[in-house]
């Protein structure tokens, strides 16, 4: 498996090269640009399934590894590999890419080739973020991602797009440079940029605290956590539909992935000492941001805030482990929380993507995202409302949908850690139901609000296909999450050991 076909490189470079081709070949021929893009993402997705079929469930070691020296002077390597933590995220990325291209099919009219090209390039870079095992390589992908996203939001976004995209870029850039300094410091101490070496090295407590905080800034901005979340509603609202999907489904996961790949294994002692900080911020996100979502009048903004609230579960689940072990000594309980967090990431990828696509469907027809502009959509778009309500229910965390599994696992773990954590986390079931269902009522049900709604046409075949695919995943993961948890199991076990072994 080590020497075979370089599957990870292919997944990174195929979309990037495809994107460049689209950029140049599609300038005079938008149809060609679209088909070329679809072919690229389709092929990438099919190839990425190899990761699933060829994955060895019994080991927590890196698989599908590739390692080539890049800058020998500084011991920087082009080093790729996946384990149970990153593999599902890569699949989520390649899958979302297909939806993204399909969803833009006849919506984007202006400079199609630049739009499609930017998304394809983004897709390759995102796989790179999840597959990189060298911290500099990771950073290169992490930062390079900002460039296409900056252009996409700024060019095809809504009214305040320029403000939103500058805010997005500078916030994330500011967060990540601290991470870079932490990498450089660890290289200075260890002589290696390898993430695996970072995980194995000993670091003193003071240094760990600083490194942990540097990581926290980088990942908290990305995920995003309260109080550095303010870029997200702006970026989400102003981004075009596909941009929101990529942001919510994948880019937010990078923050969560950062915690499991860097913070917990590299600075376990600092994580233990400062877990109250992350837990506190997560609970604020879950409760306070949930309440903020209630007050929104813009559908996209509402879903954006709900994303922040849901991502709070990810950080909560990851950092609960210390309290659980302290209180109950049960490794199993801790693992439950961590696995819950990981499942929540994947599930949120599907649900938030679906929610934004659903809003995109409405926006394409009415060109407004104001809740008050709608009402009684079910009368004119029954098929659409069926899907939209399903996704909304999943967003609430209805049993039987994927939204339930992760949240339930984390809430269960939270009760083991501290009864109050559990109570606060569980309020999301009420608040989440509140804002989501209230929106559903106002937008979809009731009498037809105005003549614009009356003229709405139901889903076309393309949209129907996208919605069906997503619905299948949301329900499948909700009914039978076993395979997903199985894939992660060994890696989460190892992560737990790393996170609880002192490195002083």
């Amino acid at each position: 498996m080590l020497t075979g076909f370089p599957i990870l490189s292919t997944l990174i470079w195929l979309p990037i090269i495809g994107g460049l081709l689209v950029l140049f070949a599609g300038r005079s021929n938008p149809a060609l640009a679209k088909w070329l893009s679809l072919a690229t993402v389709g092929l990438t997705f099919i190839l990425s399934l190899q990761l699933w079929t060829g994955f060895d469930l019994t080991t927590a070691a890196m698989q599908f590894e590739e390692k080539v020296p890049w800058i020998p002077m500084y011991n920087v390597n082009y080093h790729l590999g996946v384990d149970g933590l990153s593999m599902p995220l890569i699949l989520l990325t390649t899958f979302t890419q297909v939806l993204v291209i399909a969803s833009a099919w006849d919506v984007i009219k202006e400079r199609v080739e630049q739009y499609m090209g930017a998304f394809l390039i983004m897709g390759g870079i995102m796989v790179g973020v999840f597959a990189a095992l060298d911290s500099i390589l990771f950073y290169v992908f992490w930062e390079a991602l900002l460039i296409p996203m900056f252009i996409v939001i700024g060019k095809w976004g809504g009214k305040r797009r320029v403000y939103a995209t500058l805010k997005f870029f500078l916030y994330t850039f500011l967060g990540s440079v601290f991470m870079l300094v932490a990498f450089l410091y660890m290289y200075y101490k260890s002589g290696s940029f390898s993430i695996l070496d970072f995980q194995a090295m000993h670091i003193g407590m003071t240094a760990q605290i600083f490194i942990f905080l540097a990581f926290l800034v980088a990942f908290a901005v990305k995920i995003p956590m309260f109080p550095v979340h303010t870029w997200l509603p702006d970026a989400h609202v102003e981004a075009p539909t596909a941009g929101s999907v990529v942001l919510a489904a994948i880019m937010l996961k990078m923050g969560g992935y950062g915690f499991v790949r860097f913070s917990l294994p590299i600075t376990p002692d600092a994580s233990m000492t400062l877990d109250w900080l992350v837990i506190g911020l997560s609970l604020i996100a879950i409760v306070y941001i949930g309440i903020v979502a209630l007050a929104q009048t813009d559908m996209k903004k509402l879903v954006a805030y709900s994303s922040i609230s849901h991502m709070g579960f990810v950080t909560l689940g990851l950092f609960l482990v210390y309290d659980i072990i302290q209180n109950t000594g049960s490794m199993q309980g801790a693992q439950l929380g961590m696995e819950g967090a990981m499942v929540q990431m994947i599930s949120h990828g599907f649900i938030s993507g679906a929610m934004f696509l659903a809003i995109g469907v409405l926006y394409d027809r009415m060109h407004t995202r104001e809740i008050s502009a709608y009402g009684g959509v079910v009368n004119t778009m029954p098929w659409f409302v069926m899907f939209a309500v399903l996704f909304s229910m999943a967003n609430v965390g209805l049993p039987g949908t994927s939204g339930f599994v992760g949240e339930f696992m984390v809430i269960l773990a939270a009760f083991k850690a501290n009864i109050w954590y559990g109570v606060l986390a569980a309020t999301t079931l009420i608040i989440g139901a509140g804002y989501t269902l209230w929106m559903v009522k106002r937008v979809f049900f009731g009498a037809v609000a105005n003549e614009n709604v009356e003229k709405l046409e139901d889903l076309n075949k393309r949209e129907f296909a996208i919605m069906t695919t997503l619905a299948i995943f949301v329900i499948a993961l909700g009914v039978y999450p076993g395979p997903l948890i199985e894939v992660m199991h060994t890696s989460v076990e190892q992560l737990l050991v790393q996170a609880t072994t002192s490195k002083l």
């Binding site: 020296p69 850039f173 300094v181 450089l184």
Partner: protein, 481 residues
Amino acid sequence: MNFVIPSFAPAIPEMVLLALISILLIADTIWSKRFQFATYYATQISLLVVAFLIFTSFSLEQVITFDGSFVRDSFSDVLKLFTIVVSMGVFFFSREYLMQQKFYSGEFFVLGLFSVLGMFVMISAHNMITMYLGLEIMSLAIYAMIALRKDSAHALEAALKYFVLGALATGMLLYGFSMIYGATGSITFPEIAKIISEGNADSTVLAFGVVFVVIGLAFKLGAVPFHMWVPDVYQGSPTGVTLFLGTAPKIAAFAMLYRLLAEGMPNLVHDWQQLIIMLSILSMVVGAIVAIVQTNLKRMLAYSGIGHMGFLLLGVIAATPEGYAASMFYVVVYAMTGVAGFGMIVALSRTGNEFDLIENFKGLNARNPWLALMMMIIMFSMAGIPPFIGFWAKIIVIEEVVQAGFTWIAVVAVIAAVISAFYYLKVVKAMYFDQPDDTTKLEPVSSNLAVGVSTAALLLLVLGVMPSSMIEMFFLSLSAT
């Protein structure tokens, strides 16, 4: 004392260059009437010849000649080669610019060659007198180049400003030299270092000398608080000249810094390190913040250049061979990016429209998507965003300053990098997100210029993806000495 004929071999490239310049100076007056571009082509060929001479006689050994006043080592060879590369790029764009703005003349290139000769002398200087000579050869030629545009008040003002402040800087430098000479009794760098390390020098006089030398260097680099001339001169000069004075001389200035501080006064590192830290931090911060409010792109790039000088000094703070190598890499990358950036302005400028305001770039993506993409690469490279070469330049100097134990300076540096990203983004924003004010069709850019700009910009990308061999070259050239 018997007169011994010194070995001329190490200085052959400089002598050949001087000979070629002298021929060109005369030839230009003769043939300029009949063959318009003869001097330009002859200039480029001369540079190629010199590059060939340096390249074929490249060696890692250090050779000193002319009674200890001239040195040739791998450090000087590498820097000279890159000076030639950068200068050739500059002359390529300058010629197009001079033609466009209708003040083409052969003297421009002869003066440029003189300036390059001065840089070579600076790079190879092994004592303070040679250093001063090289500096003056380089600077005087540039003053004249700025003033070539006789009909522009801005250009004349810039030339005068540059001349007066340049003279002041040189005065400071010479004053510092005299004090160092007074304290150590020597003008040759290694000897100065030796006498200082033996403790035979008056430390008070020496400290003053160091301060004046550092001030002089800061003037030449354009580091805060000695940066006031930079924006005015960059903006006032014709773009074709800004292109030159903003790029190649920085390489020579770095060589001067290295020769004086690292070779001449390594034992005083604790004295000058403090100064360099202050210069570096102030430059990064002021460069980043003040550039934000600029509306003129040349002026913005001037402030951005000030910021870049702050980053360059990070490697000098480390005061290790690796640190100097990182700075050397930084300055070369900076010069190459500068050529691309100013080259873009040249490519877009037209008679009567210098195209140097940020608002000129509004909607460029709609008018010429390819050039907009190239400009975006240049801007992101300057901002230090991967995968462009500017990222590696920044990460390496920051890494060296962390290695030296100054993690807090690294933190300041990255924050400055984030602030400075904002104004580079402003240009990208103008190109991609704004509607053009000027809806007239953009005159097609000559294929010559389009190819030149694209090559320069794509080089930033290609080197950014494969930076290894270039970084290694700089490290080798410094570890050999």
